[in-house]
């Protein structure tokens, strides 16, 4: 099968109505960001001394990191477990992770009161701070992701550097740099791949440790010493659903046939991972006895139940059904539920569970905060689209090797 598939740049119209909507969302975010940088965080956000962290941390950063987990889980599957048949999802997942982490860094940048000191943690260390570890790991991991992406750049441009005018003299130089990089990376890539998985395991879990220090300020349903373990397990569990989610959306938007064989294969592996996560999550509330909070009807108990039932239990059951795994639509629905579940878990952990001692009002994100978050997601999707148009990322049937009759016969129904 893999002989028939080959990553290639997409050739289609870049601008579509959907793309215009995304551009509008991105520009809207830019307006609010300008105000934020001119007049301070208070003018755009609903943050205050009781609620120092809002959706820019809970969604842009915490959820962003979790949903970029497709990068390290697919790398582990294809390169470390060495299941080569999944090669085709590596590049899209890598691109998502690379762009995801870029936007995580951007999310941190805009949320920092003194954004121009974002480099401080490189030199000013605090080993007991989980945030320090997250910061350093994310920094290194983002670099590793860019290194892992380099071979795609060299593949695209070796023998293909055609700068115009004044820069044309540089063509030869750039080409030899690319060739040099390609040779070096070929031999050393395994170091980066393993490092990527280790770094991911570390900071995915430490992201959970972040909220442990909030102690009794956090609702007991979420406040637990195994929070880092739960964060790591949910990140691993959401890796493949995220790949299914995005590649289904991408193939719809780019009018390609989704690789159901690969996606179903991924789908079959999600069940056990989600099951382990659920077991730990339920075990945690059972051992600490916090399930008693579920007997009363309140915002927290409802949010917790939505997170567990809709975000974990229902998709868990779905992924164990062959009918779901083999259906493009149902596989997408199940994957979306897991993505939603992890998203809600991060929002719950960072915002819903957080209840400071002297709060006069509860936090709800402002129009500005929501606009910026939406704009960041829109920009990320736009960049993803641009990248798959420029670089060989999405695997397409190789026309030279493809027997002509194969797909024309199967036609409408798959």
């Amino acid at each position: 099968m893999e002989h028939l598939m080959k990553p290639a740049p997409i050739k289609a119209r870049f601008i579509t109505p959907g793309v215009i909507v995304l551009i509008v969302l991105a520009v809207n975010a830019l307006v609010f960001l300008t105000i934020r940088f001119l007049f301070g965080l208070g003018t755009v956000t609903n943050l205050d001394n009781q609620f120092p962290w809002g959706i820019w941390i809970a969604i842009d950063v915490a959820t962003g990191v979790a949903l970029a987990a497709g990068g390290f889980t697919s790398a582990a599957l294809a390169h470390i477990i060495h299941k080569e048949e999944y090669e085709a999802v590596i590049r899209p997942a890598l691109l998502t992770a690379m762009l995801g982490y870029t936007f995580v860094a951007f999310g941190v940048f805009i949320d920092l009161g003194r954004y121009y000191f974002i480099w401080h943690p490189i030199f000013m260390w605090n080993g007991s701070s989980p945030l320090f570890e997250v910061g350093i790991c994310v920094m290194i991991y983002a670099t590793v992701l860019y290194v892992e992406f380099l071979p795609i750049v060299t593949e695209r441009f070796i023998g293909n550097v055609r700068l115009k005018g004044l820069f044309s003299k540089l063509n030869g130089v750039i080409d030899s740099i690319l060739r040099f990089l390609d040779r070096g990376l070929n031999k050393t890539m395994f170091i980066f791949i393993i490092a990527g998985v280790v770094l991911s395991s570390l900071h995915q879990s430490s992201l959970g440790t972040l909220m442990v220090i909030a102690g009794p300020k956090m609702h007991p349903l979420w406040q637990t010493p195994v929070l880092p373990l739960l964060f790591l397990m949910s990140a691993i569990a959401v890796g493949f659903p995220m790949i299914i989610f995005e590649s289904t959306l991408a193939s719809r938007s780019l009018k390609l046939k989704p690789e159901m064989k690969i996606l179903s294969g991924l789908g079959r592996m999600i069940g056990p991972m989600l099951g382990i996560y659920l077991a730990f999550k339920l075990g945690d509330i059972a051992i600490r006895g916090t399930y008693i909070y579920l007997t009363e009807v309140s915002t927290v108990s409802i949010m917790f139940l939505i997170e567990i039932v809709i975000g974990v239990i229902i998709p868990l059951r779905m992924f164990f059904s062959e009918k779901v795994v083999n259906s493009q639509l149902w596989l997408f629905v199940a994957a979306s539920l897991v993505v939603f579940g992890v998203f809600l878990n991060r929002v719950n952990t960072f915002l819903v569970a957080y209840n400071p001692p002297h709060a006069m009002k509860t936090y709800f994100p402002s129009v500005g905060e929501i606009s910026v978050t939406l704009g960041c997601i829109a920009l990320l999707v736009l960049l993803y689209r641009a990248c798959v148009f420029i670089f060989p990322i999405i695997s397409l049937p190789d026309t030279k090797l493809l027997p002509k009759t194969k797909y024309t016969v199967s036609g409408g129904k798959s």
Partner: protein
Amino acid sequence: MIDQNRRSFLKSLGLIGITAAGLPSASVKAQSQIKLSEDRMGVLVDTTVCIGCRNCEWACKKAHGLEAGVVNDYEDRSVFKSKRRPDHSALTIVNEYQNPKNSLVPADVKFQCMHCDQPGCVSACIVAAITKHENGAVTWDGDKCIGCRYCMVACPFQIPAFEYNKAIQPEIMKCDFCFERISEGKLPACVEICPTETLTYGKRKDLIEIAKERIRRKPDRYVNHIFGEKEVGGTSWLYLAGQEFSNFDFPKLGEDTAPGVSESIQHGIFAYFIPPIALYALLGGVMWINKNKNKSERE
């Protein structure tokens, strides 16, 4: 093969799982993270003596270069209608509460940073911009701070305040125990101005003795509880009260330090970098075995 996949994931999970399982015993060890001086200073706040003159608020602002106004304006008692919290414009505030024993004499309570012995903010700060000093003060270093506000998430008393309406160099604002003044041997500004001796500045260990003595002499006047003696592992500021501290909006806190659990996890995962390196080696091994297996299958 899928089994192998799961197993390797589980192993990496196990590493962290073991760390998490060892928490209760480890958390005790982590509490000795910051070495404390026996002679560290503190302030005893006797809320039964305070008359709510708010001169301390004025003196504090004066001492920290904040807009203070005229001291006479602080006689206005209408501010007590609502409960205030320290923020970027006032590092300490006094709130007034009902006194169930005598409704004519309300209870006035001063709030500010408690200067914990094992502060959550110090442990949390990403760039180590917050320091617990030998004399007990917990201070913030503006040259390091990046404005991430994690200290505010970590503080069990929700004390650090942030200048949300400043685009450049916003500061984390909180009581600094008049660090410069006490380093020169002076009294903290609030203690110096207090006309009723509500505030007593001294060595923390002596203050605990004084507090115990006051409770022993007048058991009717005080509840038998020195707030800050044991809470979150002890705080430099200590409180006496005539009623339960929860009536004064003090958060209910245990004796475990704020950073205890989080630091145990953190130091567990990074114990001499062994777990990350072990995970790296494990994954490398799995990668190598699977690569060779694939090769031999093909042959």
